[in-house]
Subunit: 456 residues, 2 copies
């Protein structure tokens, strides 16, 4: 009887214990109804959100072990990056103002051949993860070499990643042949199967850098382990023209014909697309990682984002790599650019309004990765991936619309606190799981070697 009363009392009158409560001026949920809660709060237990609502109600219902109260900040879902190359942080701006193919073939591939080792990759990943976390990215999608090292460093920092082991036809730092690449990939998929933060994935580089057999084998691997396949798709006109000349098909049509899209796929860039290609991406439920900075800086072209959205293709944002195609990992800048680029491309300022852009950086990105049931919005039951964005800086006020402010005025530097999978990784702009001084020291050491290896 006593036990029953106590139990009743606890549930009716006393606050339930939770691990964390985060409160802010507005909680921008990005849920199905685009709810924005003024004076809102989020309760977190373990890895998940248990409740979202007005702060007064959350505080009445829950008692937290730890609180993050930011009365002058937006609380938003953590930002989701759908395409990057994290360890290229160590090649930041090493070769600028060049065409993609020249940049890749004359500078990047040779610099990588000379410098990329597991330790290089770890140092670069730590720098990238530090930068991404401090600017509000909580999940990132990667394609590089020694991806198991990237996964280990990412998990150690507590960040979420969909991490693709590169498979490519020519010798690269971690594999002499595509067969070796495929076998490394399978080992990687096994190693991280069921990991709480890491989704290991095969990443055949592109249609023009892989044999058809290798592409098919990559797809088979992804499907065997139930993970997405990551690939660059129709990034440049050269890729598009060569595919048409060689196969009589666009890259999208060729990849579809090869069966590469028969399973969850994240297509990076998607710049050169015919209308039929857009139909194919929609029909095959291929997610598209839009990279406005990279597409502009390398003069690759302008992705038909408005058309893709209209046809129901899932769209996310990616900064691409920082070695010349960007040169950083800042998703606030990708939001800003995504909106502006479509407006000028379509000569219509009503294209891609701010809320649509925020969607691309959050729940849209989650859809691209097939993780929309787990991340991308602030809803009870989902993983607790969220950030606080300060409204203190002079560029942050006045504010008439939260989405406009996020896309057009707020910066990565306004992010003060970052929670991933229920764990606080950044507090008051300080990274808690990475030692910034050590990260810097390691990065600068490798930068010296890179400097010596690149002919300018």
């Amino acid at each position: 009887m006593f036990r029953i009363l106590v139990s009743l009392g606890l549930s009716l009158y006393a606050a339930e214990p939770v691990d964390l409560i985060v409160s802010g001026k507005h909680v921008v949920t990005m849920d199905g109804g685009y709810r924005v809660i003024d004076g809102g709060a989020v309760a977190v237990r373990g890895e998940r959100i248990v409740a979202v609502g007005a702060r007064a109600e959350i505080d009445k219902a829950y008692k937290a072990r730890k609180r993050i109260d930011r009365p002058n900040a937006l609380i938003t879902p953590g930002l989701i990056s759908t395409h990057t190359h994290a360890p290229m942080s160590l090649l930041r701006g090493v070769a600028d103002d060049l065409r993609l193919q020249e940049w890749l073939e004359k500078y990047i591939f040779p610099a990588e051949a000379k410098n990329v080792t597991p330790d290089f990759v770890r140092a670069g990943t730590n720098l990238a993860v530090l930068e991404m976390l401090l600017s509000g990215t909580t999940t990132y999608t990667d394609m590089y070499y020694f991806e198991e090292v990237i996964a280990d460093a990412t998990a150690k920092a507590g960040m979420r990643g969909v991490l693709g082991q590169t498979i490519i036809q020519f010798p690269v730092p971690d594999a002499k042949t595509p067969a070796e690449g495929l076998s490394r990939t399978e080992a990687f998929l096994k190693q991280f199967a069921g990991h709480r933060l890491i989704t290991a994935a095969p990443a055949p580089h592109a249609i023009y850098t892989n044999a058809d057999d290798t592409l098919r084998a990559s797809r088979a691997l992804a499907n065997k382990y139930g993970v997405p396949l990551l690939i660059h798709v129709s990034e440049t006109k050269r890729e598009f023209d060569e595919s048409k000349a060689k196969r009589g098909l666009t890259p999208v049509a060729a990849l579809a014909k090869l069966g590469v899209f028969d399973g969850r796929t994240v297509a990076a860039h998607g710049v050169w697309l015919e209308d039929a290609d857009i139909g194919t991406l929609a029909a095959k439920k291929v997610g598209d990682a839009h990279c406005p900075s990279s597409n502009m800086k390398l003069a690759s072209g302008i992705a038909p984002v408005a058309k893709l959205l209209k046809q129901g293709v899932s769209l996310g944002l990616g900064p691409d790599g920082p070695a010349g195609s960007n040169n950083d990992f800042n998703l606030f800048e990708e939001m800003d650019l995504a909106g502006k680029l479509q407006k000028i491309a379509t000569m219509d300022p009503e294209t891609l309004p701010a809320r649509t852009v925020v969607e691309m950086a959050t729940i849209g990105g989650a859809r691209v990765l097939g993780m929309e049931k787990e991340i991308g919005s602030i809803e009870a039951g989902k993983r607790a991936d969220l950030i606080a964005v300060s409204l203190d800086a002079p560029h942050a006020y006045p504010m008439f619309n939260v989405y406009s402010q996020l896309v057009n005025a707020l910066k990565g530097s306004d992010v003060t606190d970052v929670v991933v999978n229920g764990k606080l990784l950044v507090e008051q702009r300080k990274a808690l799981t990475l030692d910034a001084a050590k990260v810097r020291l390691a990065a600068e050491r490798y930068a010296g070697a890179v400097r010596n290896s690149v002919v300018r």
Copy 2:
């Protein structure tokens, strides 16, 4: 005899007294030889730079009353904004994702009619100046109402400004008629003649919002007082088409024919230009204020920047106003966008390399304003307008090229210290001449009134 020895001793062996020494990892001078001094320093006496060189030499030759040593920062010329509307900070993002004419006529002009008073303008200017200084802008070019209040607030904060009093055909908050606008302008030019920080200027809004007589009278005023004339030129296709239909001339050709370019002129935007127009701007030495964010966000068009540079037109950068065309005053973002926009527009990644972009934000902007002998580079004899940009953030390293880093990786938030006219205005990211809390309070008060006056 003793006096002679002492005097000799002082000049030969002892360090000369100066007011300020600023040192950094690299001094990016933007002088005629694009000198970058590793481990450099700048000595300042009064309002001017007295020496630039290696820190060891500067420290030997000069003894400073105050030092700013930033061993892990770039020291660069202060950034120069060639087109904005400072008090529109209070309308930040009030109406987004709209066409220029609709935005202007349905939202901005009515909101201004209801809200703009001298006090509104002062509150908005303080917010704008605070934001500009904290993100590294040391000189800005403005067009608004009650410009004498803007000038007073700007001078009180210690910032440099080329400030244009608006002249326009219809009733506006500070003038019922263009005649009243012209007479206000003349009073303003007299009031600030010879001011050490402020250049007062007439700013007829545009060709489509002024009668020809008013434009001619504005030119006459500018020439009488020896100051530049500021005007919007060929910003939208509508402006271009209407001018052709009405006058049979492009806006540039029409303005040239009216004599508006017969004297120093700062033309804002310059988007819709025929080849002959570019020739006219070059021949008339009209400076062009390129506004990439605004042109993209309002879908106005893409200015032919590469062509303008090739024809020898002076080019600067401007954020335009934050009320929907941007929505902030960050010149680091304008640098980033200027480069990327021209690359994608010309489909050539070699267009507008990073150094050219930095030039537009510094000495190029000074040329646009006709102030290149006074500001825009770090050289002995010039006004001491300079900033320190920290290389501490994870997005700031490694660094392979200073110009690439400034354009593509560094942010306004990396600016730590700002000197204008020899006076330290920002130290360690803290504004010294403006009280941030008071600025915010005043801004939020007016934001409430704006919110109530705009139908959304």
